[in-house]
Every structure is written in C-alpha cells, then in structure tokens.
Symmetry: C2
Subunit: 197 residues, 2 copies
C-alpha cells in the first residue's frame, strides 16, 4: 500500500454519498461527518453527493469512517462512491495533498466489526486491453478475506467492512502502480440490511 518514493502521487478523488434508510437521515449524516477528521483531504458536499479529493489512503479513510459511524447505530445504511484517478478532464484545483499517508480516523474504524455486502466495478479507461486488469483485481480481493461472487455488471463482495475497504483501496493503488492512465472504480456497500437473498 506504500506509494513509490520516486513517483509523486496523483490527485485521487471520489464522488460519494451515504444513504441512511431512516427518518433521521439528515442528523445521522451530519453527526458522522462531524466526528470524522477530514483535515487531510479537500471535501465539499453539493445537492447530490460529496466530493473528496487528496491522496488515496485519506479518501478511503475519511469516507470509510463516516460510513461506519452511521453503521454503528444499527440503521440500514448504504455507501455509494465513484473513485477516479487521472481523468483527462480533471483540474489541478479543489484538492489537498497531505504530506504523508498516515491516516487520521483509525480510531473510529478499528472499534467496529461491521459485516457488509458490497458490489464494485473497475473501469480502466483509454486502453483496448482493459478486461485483463479487471479480472486480476477481482481475483486480488480474495486475498483480503473477502467472499467474492460474480454477478452482472459488478462483482459481489461479502465480509468485514475493514477487509472490503482495504481490498478496494489496494485495487485503486495497484492500478496507479501499474501506470493506468485513467482509472474509475464504482463501489456500493450496504450495512445492516434486512434483505436476505
């Protein structure tokens, strides 16, 4: 997970949302965002989602911590995010690149053993040979203690939230380390759902 010392990390970011299925959704979201230390990212909420931009470890740390704060209450909550690195249409603005990878919210994250069900999809842009890295990264999730199942359009993941977030962060970092010019990854994570398949 350590970034190469030689290469300057590129701006990573996500457009993400939290959906607590509760009448009390607004307070749940505001309280979670208040508890999370977002000092190592640039973050702004608009009327559809929240944009978080910075280094890969911090955008995962902040969004994971906010999600788990709501999940801890026991309410059914969904995390939905589009991660992106290297979009040719991206700007250099609206970002805070922290000096290091030392994350700020480990305390909020480590005290939960939240089980979740998730789906993710990887979109390596701009190249003809894009299916091989996708299959490789789907396979890599198994090494993180995550149950992996194929379904249409996305890959199903089941397991502890920490394992799934760590695995997904590794996927995005691996694409960066491999020199992928522009990577997009979509993620949906559901906690405390009453639905059984």
């Amino acid at each position: 997970m350590t970034e190469s010392k030689e290469k300057k990390p590129r701006i990573a970011g996500t457009s993400f949302s939290l959906y607590p299925m509760s009448d009390n959704f607004a307070d749940l979201i505001l309280n979670a965002l208040k508890k999370v230390d977002s000092s190592k990212v640039w973050m702004k909420t608009d009327r559809v989602s929240t944009i978080v931009r910075g280094r890969i470890p911090h955008i995962f740390d902040v969004t994971q911590a906010a999600f788990l704060e709501i999940a801890k209450t026991g309410v059914h909550v969904v995390y939905s995010a589009t991660f992106s690195v290297g979009c040719p249409g991206d700007t250099e603005g609206h970002v805070y690149m922290a000096e290091d990878d030392s994350v700020m919210n480990r305390g909020l994250i480590d005290d939960t053993k939240q089980k979740v069900s998730a789906k993710f999809a990887l979109y390596p842009m701009g190249g003809g040979n894009y299916m091989d890295p996708i299959y490789e990264q789907i396979e890599s999730m198994k090494s993180h203690g995550v149950e992996v199942n194929l379904t249409h359009y996305e890959t199903m993941l089941d397991g502890p939230a920490q394992n799934i977030f760590t695995g997904l962060q590794s996927v995005l970092q691996a694409m960066e380390d491999a020199g992928s010019p522009h990577t997009v990854m979509t993620v949906t994570i559901s906690a405390n759902s009453p639905t059984k398949e």
Copy 2:
C-alpha cells in the same frame, strides 16, 4: 429514440437501487416494485441491488417508474444505477428481450411533475478517444430541457425527472447507434432532498 430496423438490439442492463431515506424503506420499495409492470424485462433483486436486463427503453421505463412511485409519497429518495451494454464478460442469459419498444409504465410516469437533482458519468470502454463522445453527450443533455453543470467526476443535472430520464436514455441509445463496443453509464438521481447547496 427508435432503434434501427436493420440492427438487432443488444442486451442492455442495469444494476440499480432505490434508497428511500425513511424508517419505512422496505415497504416503500416493495410497494413500488409491485405497482410497476416489469413484464418486458428480466429482473432480479439480490442483497445489494436489482439487476434489470432487456431492451434500452424498457430498462429505463421500469426503473424510472419504480423511482417515481416512491418520490410521489414525498419521501427523500435516491435512484442509483449503473447501465451497461456490450461488456465482453457478459453472458447471453438472464434476459428478456421484448418484441417491441412500446413501454408498459407510461401511466405511472406521466402523472408526476417531480423535480430532481442528478449526476451522471459516461464511460465508453476500450478506445483511446473516449473523451470526445463524453463531451458530446454532456452537451446533448441540454436539448432535453435539463440544466447541466460541470463538477468533479460526474456531470450535474437539474430539472423534471422525465426530461432527465429521457435524456439519459438518449445518451445510451446514441452510444449504441454510434457503434460503441462497450458503454457504461452511472446515474444518481435525488428527489425531495432537504439539502440546498
């Protein structure tokens, strides 16, 4: 919007979810799905999302109608979907290709003037020149009576729900008509949100 008579339409599909921010979320979703006529698509719900597969007009018709049934109640609800056509890893199974484009849920859709805020992103896979069709399709949304604003990673859309769904359906169809080998489009639509930017 009419498909070419010469070309057989390919299997289109979506992995979509509805998130009613309400204690009553399960009943709201089940009631909406019960009211919608899904006889012209293949549809299956798992523990994270619902897969809908068939012809482009029907997957938009069914998912839009289900979303609007919940939005009509006044509850804050979000529609989140990944559309896909032509994925090389896709199978020929799990699909119902209706004989025609005549949609089944016009009645549920036409009696609402729901305003929404949305974001979408288009991912033309497998080619090096993928930014041009993206910019072209963002521009095309303006012709549907939709307010279009740029933001990070996605494009913001504001306007009546019908206009936004019609525009997004046209985007996916235009990519098909242009011969795009594999198109992915992500969509988030929010109704009745208390958030003002």
